[in-house]
Amino acid sequence: MPFNLKEVYKWPKRFMPGGRTCAGCAIPVVARTVLAATKDPVVASNATGCMEVTSTIYPFTTWNMPWIHNAFENAAATISGVETAFRSLKAQGKIPKDKEIKFVAFGGDGGTYDIGLQSLSGALERGHNFVYVCYDNEGYMNTGNQRSSATPYGAATTTSPAGKVKQGKEEWRKDLVKIASAHNIPYAAQAAVHNLADLYMKAEKAFSVKGPAFITVLSPCTTLWKYPPHLTMQYSKLAVETRFWPLFEIEEGKVKVNYKPSKDVPVTEFLKGQGRFRHLFKPENSDMLKRIQQHVDEAWERLLKMDGI
């Protein structure tokens, strides 16, 4: 169905208001858009992290749908158990044969790229019928901005701070969509929170394929990327316009770039104004900015080639 924001948000309310995210957080938008992309009932598992702590605090819950938080590193393994229970009970006739339920696991980048990677890999390889959604805010934000393997090169975090001799994270980020896709799953995609039509379309595809699907969604973090709360969507958009965060999908192994910026916007447009990159704009760090631009350009060219452009 074509994307219509007003229509989409009329559908069953699954992620309710009243949660305790920071003002300007991208997470509720990701949750609502993804969960609107199917009309079937959905059961969710959730890794420990910002989404889990802000969406529940006993005796309250934001989840007007079945939801389980088990631990940090096992959202995928947990949902694989739920999904297997569904298949088993259905096969035994304990759940009607025509009953449809969708399964989704949510995790942040720490719970997905790092500590939960094995659990995710296992669940993807086993072929469970589920969607894994990573809200990627590029670090361990729930614990106060520590470096993850999704943290970009040069970003200052509390465990990779900028100082007199070190200038933030020294490694490039992990390319998780390609890693997920290498499990030969039917659908993997990269999305960003500002482009709701694209995210919705990807979630809809992910729910409709048979087998595992993976989506990672750029979810700018006002608190720890250190920019004013009203700029979350703007930073998400800049990440895409500068090609720092391309929107693409891999469907049955075929790569498709979903959005090609019409202008060449330098990556500094995305980096500037964010406290975590402030040190990069010192004159002595100009080489780092060049390196980041070069890295972005090369990655974009590689991606276009994969798309056959």
Partner: protein, 395 residues
């Protein structure tokens, strides 16, 4: 020619196979599997049972024990009867989720083939693996034989699923000694066992999508404590209900399921306490020494969590000397079973003398003469405040 009469329902099998037979009869909705010696033959046997269509279970072949317990938690919360099995490092790896399973009150049953924890790495029997999770909130039942391991699977399941309990349970047997040792096991009638465990009707299931539930919310200073206290109360209920369900099971099997088995304890001057297969070795030594006129006895503990303090104190109140056989160490503290027994005896006016023994770590064999030496030490009044390490070089 002499023939041995064996009942048709008696079959030679290992402890691992016996437990897998229990799983066939229980027919869980979901089983998560990951290999680890000496547990592996449990899941292998069960996988073949499913492959042959003798159980309708969906198997999840996970990539680690951490995911085995995580997926089992997911399946159980979904509303399925769910199981997994493990040992040693596998149990240690899933430790985090073992605690979570208990706090979510999921009635998961997990057979264990007890094995020494690393390091150094070792594949043989001791109880360091399950002692490591003794405070996790799981019911722990120990089995002397394959027959007991088999039957106690049903006891554990019915206890775990009881509405006043709702706690996960592990059914322990000694790795290799029991898991790989072949015994004649009587497999009870399928229909009878099916009727005994009954249908599983969970009250809160994730798959009941019309009645959505939140599992595993954040609980801080204002609620965490009460949740933990509820687990305490559930354990108290488990202790009481264990005996009720045990009596019901006795009517099918003809075996007793007390908290412990008393062997020649009535007039005993010295009693050794042990868990799992070593109880069988001690019984043989008791028989031999009784023939020699020595008044020795044995207590085999079946239920370690919840721990039957009062009943143990009552049973030991007239015993002059008690020796405790631990197959695990608690470094810098008294060995775990010894510590519990000593704790149980504190309220007695006249306390038995006590001696702690540690034996069999990493699968070190224990011999009848060593058990006899231990009894003689107790009978001769040579107790010490120090733990005696049986069969350990330089101890």
């Amino acid at each position: 020619m002499d023939t041995i009469q064996v009942s048709k329902s008696m079959r030679p099998m290992t402890g691992a196979q016996a437990v897998a037979e229990a799983m066939r009869q229980i027919n869980p909705d979901v089983v998560a599997m990951y290999p680890i010696t000496p547990q592996t033959p449990i899941i292998e046997t069960f996988a073949k049972i499913v492959a042959d269509g003798r159980a309708s279970t969906e198997i999840i072949r996970v990539e680690s024990e951490h995911s085995a317990m995580s997926a089992t938690v997911g399946a159980a919360a979904a509303g399925a009867r769910a199981m997994t099995a493990t040992a040693a490092n596998g149990l240690a790896l899933m430790d985090e989720i073992v605690y979570i399973a208990a706090s979510m009150r999921l009635p998961i049953v997990m057979p264990i083939a007890n094995r020494a924890l690393s390091g150094p790495i070792n594949i043989h029997c001791d109880h360091s693996d399950t002692m490591n999770v003794r405070d996790s909130g799981w019911i722990q039942i120990y089995s002397e034989t394959a027959q007991e391991a088999y039957e106690q699977m049903f006891l554990a399941l019915k206890l775990a699923e009881h509405k006043d309990v709702l706690l996960p349970a592990m059914v322990c047997q000694d790795g290799f000694v029991t898991s790989h040792g072949v015994e004649n096991v009587k497999i009870h009638d399928d229909e009878t066992m099916k009727k005994f465990i009954g249908e599983y009707k969970p009250e809160y299931a994730l798959l009941d999508v019309d009645n959505p539930v939140t599992y595993g919310p954040l609980q801080l200073q204002d609620y965490y404590f009460e949740t933990k206290k509820q687990q305490v109360d559930a354990m108290k209920n488990a202790k009481r209900i264990f005996l009720e369900i045990g009596k019901e099971l006795s009517q099918i099997t003809g075996h007793d399921y007390g908290y412990f088995e008393k062997y020649e304890m009535d007039d005993a001057e010295a009693v050794l306490i042990a868990m799992n297969s070593t109880a069988g070795n001690i019984k043989a030594v008791v028989d031999k020494m009784r023939k020699e006129g020595k008044k020795v006895g044995m207590m085999k503990l079946r239920l370690f969590r919840p721990f039957p303090y009062e009943e143990i104190a009552e049973a030991l109140k007239d015993v002059p000397v008690v020796g405790v056989f631990d197959r695990a160490e608690s470094f810098g503290a008294r060995p775990p079973l010894y510590g519990e027994i000593r704790n149980a005896l504190f309220d007695l006016d006249k306390k038995p003398d006590m001696q702690s023994f540690v034996f069999g770590l990493g699968g070190r064999d224990i011999f009848s003469h060593q058990i006899e030496d231990a009894f003689n030490m107790l009978l001769d009044g040579k107790m010490t405040d120090e733990t005696k390490y049986i069969g350990c070089r330089g101890c």
